[in-house]
Symmetry: D3
Subunit: 329 residues, 6 copies
């Protein structure tokens, strides 16, 4: 019974009145009593595109216990508008083992090929000529635990690229943009820009968890990705120095750490230092630009209201986004 | 007498102890009396790289009258340090007619070929496909008075590219950078970005004078380049409409004006609107990036103090600039 | 059946426990199912003073279809408190054609006589002596489409005078205040102050819609009323110039546009220029003063809570407003 | 010898090359030695319009001793430009007793009739009807020491009306403006506005000295005019209460003190409270408007540079002021 | 029936699923109708640790009338999670007279002994040697009405020590900290620091009510505790002066008032003056430190979510608080 | 010849008219020509309290060469006022070898006993009980290079304790204050507070040079003391971990680094993290308090103007400091 629909309807495409017959990931559940004494279940159903409040009337305690938080649930029912938000009324449900679902539907994850992105990033970094910067990059690239975490990490909790692989996707974008602009600015130290483009957000792989839900780690919250990365770079420089028997040049270390510390551009965004070399401005602006392009195009593409020419107000941008710029004419 | 040195020593390269025998542009002059009753002249000598305070002892009133403000003067003498600033002691001098000097040595002017830059800019704009944006660009390109002013204009009074032709140089840089980045962001409206890259600062050709000294015009001071340009664009759209007999599409006009109005990125920098389409962020960040690269590399290249690894404090950047980033190792 | 009460009870005067028998404008509607499977309707009822959430139990699909969004509905039922907000329980209802209601009860509209206000504004402007400013005023006054839109426009979406005719009401207030103050400051250019008082907010007639609901237009959102008005003034000056065969004096144009651009007083409020003539400060402060008087007296008069001496916190003023200042002793 | 010129040339009108033969007030003096061992005097000469650095060569110790700081000195000599600033070379000088000069030339003082202004202010306040506010006004008006200080006090050290009598001049302006606007806003408590217009800056008579030089008093610096005035009002209310045998109504006291505390409008300008009644906004904006009109018209009228259409940059206004707004056409 | 549990379960310790049989203070109540026409009661139950939304199904009008707002109610029922917040379902209830309950359970009140704290504060102040400061302290200590209010007052509405006696508790903490630090900084005027530590927040006893609910008084809202206290100090100084027949030294008065006016440290926090003596910094930082320690430790101790290492986001501190700092290892 | 005065007159005590016969440290020197062709020397003389511009007339090139920059010079001559600044006229001079002077007179250096301060700091840290924090402290205390640098380092370039040993003096003050306050706040983690008090500014020993002049190092400028210290702590934790064979507890490391990163309290002061544990507030406020007490008492003690009750305006404190608070009565 409850045969699976061929296609999962994603949360961000649901509308009042639609009926569903498919699997969701359960976040929260609660058993409540109506005034007449009947039990009912309230729970939150999610997939990688969002979450949905649901209730199931005429529930029993055993049915409630069968539903597992952080487990998968096949549900049948329909969508309603409830006080301006969407609500799902479950008519029937049964648990589904994790190995029967396509996890990628439930975890927010990059739509691009991770290995291909990683290869392209390495290809771009191959242009770096400076011996010490090459050693530094190599130390990170050969650190398996780091690379594994880096490939899985989101770029942020919500702001931009908030999905598994998002950090790599964003980093590659910044590195590509840097590679595209560097020929136009021959006075810049291209090696420094490319290396910093790679390293600028690596601390996020320790700042954020990269499981079913994206959260700050304790260390991310207390120390932050900028300082975490500065420490990692110091540590790699120490290892290089131990291997080569020579000091890692302090100017090189200072500059890479400086660009990292300054890449948020202003104190108020958590940068303990302001950009003090032209290369730092390149990383700062290209980082910001990629984030802003993601935020605005994502907001436009995911806006449910077909009637309005604008998205809802976006607090971080202090404006609504106009949705028609792409399709002039 | 006073045979001309083969090569003009520029103000930004002078050091205490150097002797000079060459022509400067005179800005200010004053005749003063020493305690013992002798007359002496105090004046300011300039070339395109800066200005220099000078004095000539044992002067006479007729000599003083022979020196012309905004005129050229051949001087012979030597440089001294006076209270931390450079001072020039004139031993002998004579006026020189303007047609005997290379004006380019005395007016700050782009070092690049203006016509070549203009041609390259037009080449980049040729990529624009949208019919209305093409018409808009064409209207400006065919406006001879506008083009003449645009080619001569500085990009700013002091901040960046503050020299004749600086506006074109900066605009070309932004357009080049946009052209380089657009292939990486296929979701953007490339036509809109390129058109706006061209138009974003055109109002500066009416905001600033472009003669021997760069100053705000009254209209520049009272109305500002952003609003001036928005008005020009409205005017060109009206002319197109009159010619074609069709309304210039209001969405297109709104978007081009919006990106222009928002290109300073924040209210505090004089933008009456905040960026509300992804294309506006591209123009905002590439504009800013080109300005910051100019400011920092210019500060590094023109810093006289060979001993320090940092330039003096730059108020606009709230930091000193580190001078060694280009030459790692 | 459902005979109409002689008097409409406005939303801002409703209290829990009141029964109603009258017409509202319907904004949203939704058909939902109770746990027991019964259908019920949830909708929003409005008049010009506010909106009210309503539900009707034991509904049918045909009844639901009879209710029209943006249509008028005669309802009978009673008001309740639901979680601190007012809710209306509909016992019976039937649609009412628009021509049977007094539209002024449902659209927020000025309580003053529009033509009388317009006449008074023109009377005040008659004091302007400067030939060019008179021509400029005339151009706007003779532009029928402009005048029609100006008379209907609200002054803002919510902040102050957010109703049809509000722009005229506010503009007249500012002009009156200017006329009252000018004799006290004979050094000011009175013509410039009066002209700018008239023109300072005219762009709002294109920034906001003026129908049943007040919203930003796309152009209002992307370009904004300040720039719209600056462009209109440039356009009128061009037309004057074409008619007179003489240049409209650039100083006059610069000044009128400057005062307009600076009338929000600070960059953070969207002014691209800061006030740079004394006349600009007059317009800025009188504009602000009229808005603040409206906001505070409106908040006091519409505060439902008779027990408290203060209104709720007003975010834009960063304070609560004390309601007893008018009635000392 | 040294016969007095019929007319004092004021400091703000001096130009390089002018010769003078008149009296100044001496601020500082210093005796120095030239390299050749000769003594010379350096001193500062002032009148009510500004100050001027001066030197006298070939001085003697007895001559130096004859010059008195804060004394008057008749000088003969000429003005020079020295490093961009004006300098005066004294050829001859002699002390002048204070009773031989017109003190009004040396102390900045209002050009208006103090008693007439005071009478007009009282006339305006006669419109106040509220019994308690009348008692409060009366308490201040009958306090002779207060009235004497109030009439002499400047309104600020430098910002606006920085001269003896300036506080009264400014207060009268605000009261006049309030009286002019109140008929337009009948919902306001006019008594409260007029009383507060009178009292809003009274604390300045204790915050600033009103002698030859205007400085902060210690109490002005440590406690400030806003709190000083709040305390005075509390004290007057207590006295009224003692006389009448009835409590001064606390709501009235609260409101007058509130408007006073809030009249700077924002915390950053030293207001401990933000305006929370409409009447507070009236006092805040009219106070600000009068100050800004003074600052801008004063800057325009006192600008020495006839060539420029703009005054120098004014830090408090964050802009230069355009000087041609009064004389359009 | 409904025998009282021996121990009151406080609101901040309740969890879904718990059953209760105890007394609460009722804040709000409302009678509503279900769709099926049944009546039910919605009310808010509180004790000194927080508030709880409750409903009672199958209610009658007489039962509703028996429940008194601001009265005590013995309830029996159980806690549920409702949309993420706790809700209480009342099965049975009856009113309880105020004299049958321990009021301290229902009003937020210090857990410390008020008289003992007061005695310790006086003991600390005994160290003050300066005659005039001693007189000033004495005037306040002997003012019975003041002392009674001071002992009962909270220190704030919500931020820190928001309970009866909180002002004394906070003041004592600041005085203790000052007494502990003063030996380390012998250059400070210890008498001034201790006196100001005592007086810095006294105005709060008139700014806030100290009954069953803590609210701003009208005077607190309009005038604020800082100015209220400055006025009180002026008044006490006047009384001392009348008694002693000597002026209270103005420097002493200025300084005590200055430290009071400056103790919020920045204009944006409502201080009309910035700290201008070292003693003012001591009071400012120790005041702030005590408040921040209370806020953070209170947030940690009252956080219900045992799973998270962080409290929810605290808007005033712009961060979440880490809960594990006390228990390292 | 030139017998040494028994006592060095320090620069901050010099006044116009004083004659001197003593040794200074030379910073800059320059040889210039008078109008009459005579040579003269301009140089800067310094001691640990400040610097003084000097000139010597009738100089020769050999004399000029004998004076060494960064060398010591015995001078004889007198002080003059020159344009409001003090100037010294050298009548005679001769170089003095460094070993003939008391270096402490020329380098700004703590007046306290460094070893005694260090011992007291260690004594305070002995109270730390937590095993891991003890290990961490030990690692730093046993690092000889670190301790040597720490003892010599200033606490800042100018703001507070800007002299050799100033870092230790400031650190000890903060540790003492923490030790004094901790008994009052038993809920705090005292070990964490004391450890962080010790470590909070250690990075300054690498941020600033500690030779004859105090300057930022390149690393200090580019990376900053906060990040430098965070890296050092990570490095020490790694070494501990290697020695003990156990992981250094990550919570402990996170917390110590967090308090360090947050100790400037706000993003704008360069803290990449805001305080998120109560212990972080303690370090932040006590650090700030010690700095502010130094700045204000130092300004009062070093103010040359005996006539004024206030120091000059201090930009960092946005106010002048009142000088009479210590000596009430």
């Amino acid at each position: 019974m409850l045969p699976m629909n061929s296609q999962h309807q994603f949360v961000n495409q649901l509308k009042p009145g639609m009926t569903l017959d498919q699997v969701f990931l359960v976040r929260d559940k609660d058993l409540r009593t109506t005034k007449s004494g009947d039990l009912y279940v309230v729970c939150t159903l999610t997939d990688r595109t969002g979450s949905l409040s649901a209730r199931m009337w005429q529930a029993s305690e055993s049915l409630f216990n069968a539903i597992k938080t952080e487990g998968f649930l096949h549900v049948k029912g329909r969508c309603e508008d409830y006080k301006g938000a969407l609500q799902f009324i479950i008519d029937a449900c049964r648990p589904v083992p994790a190995d029967k679902v396509d996890l990628a539907d439930y975890m927010p994850v990059t739509e691009l090929d991770v290995e291909q992105m990683w290869a392209e990033l390495l290809e771009i970094l191959r242009a770096v000529k400076d011996k010490n910067l090459r050693l530094l990059i190599k130390k990170f690239v050969e650190d398996r635990a780091f690379v594994a975490a880096f490939k899985k990490s989101p770029a942020a909790m919500q702001m931009h690229h908030p999905f598994l692989g998002g950090l790599l996707e964003h980093t590659l974008n910044v590195a590509r943009a840097a590679a595209a602009l560097l020929p136009l600015y021959p006075k810049l130290n291209a090696d420094l820009v490319l290396t910093s483009a790679f390293l600028h957000d690596i601390g996020k792989s320790a700042e954020l968890t990269s499981g079913l839900s994206i959260r700050y780690t304790d260390r991310g919250q207390l120390v932050g990705h900028i300082t975490i990365a500065a420490i990692w770079i110091a540590e790699k420089a120490r290892l290089i120095s131990e291997e080569t028997g020579e000091d890692f040049p302090p100017e090189t270390l200072d500059l890479v750490q400086h660009i990292l510390l300054a890449h948020h551009g202003e104190h108020q965004w958590g940068s303990p230092k302001l950009p003090a070399v032209p290369e730092a401005f390149v990383v700062h602006y290209l980082d910001n630009l990629d984030a802003k392009i993601w935020m605005t195009t994502h907001a436009v593409e995911n806006d449910a209201d077909a009637e309005s020419n604008f998205t809802p107000y976006m607090r971080q941008l202090e404006t609504q986004i106009y949705k028609k710029s792409r399709e002039l004419q």
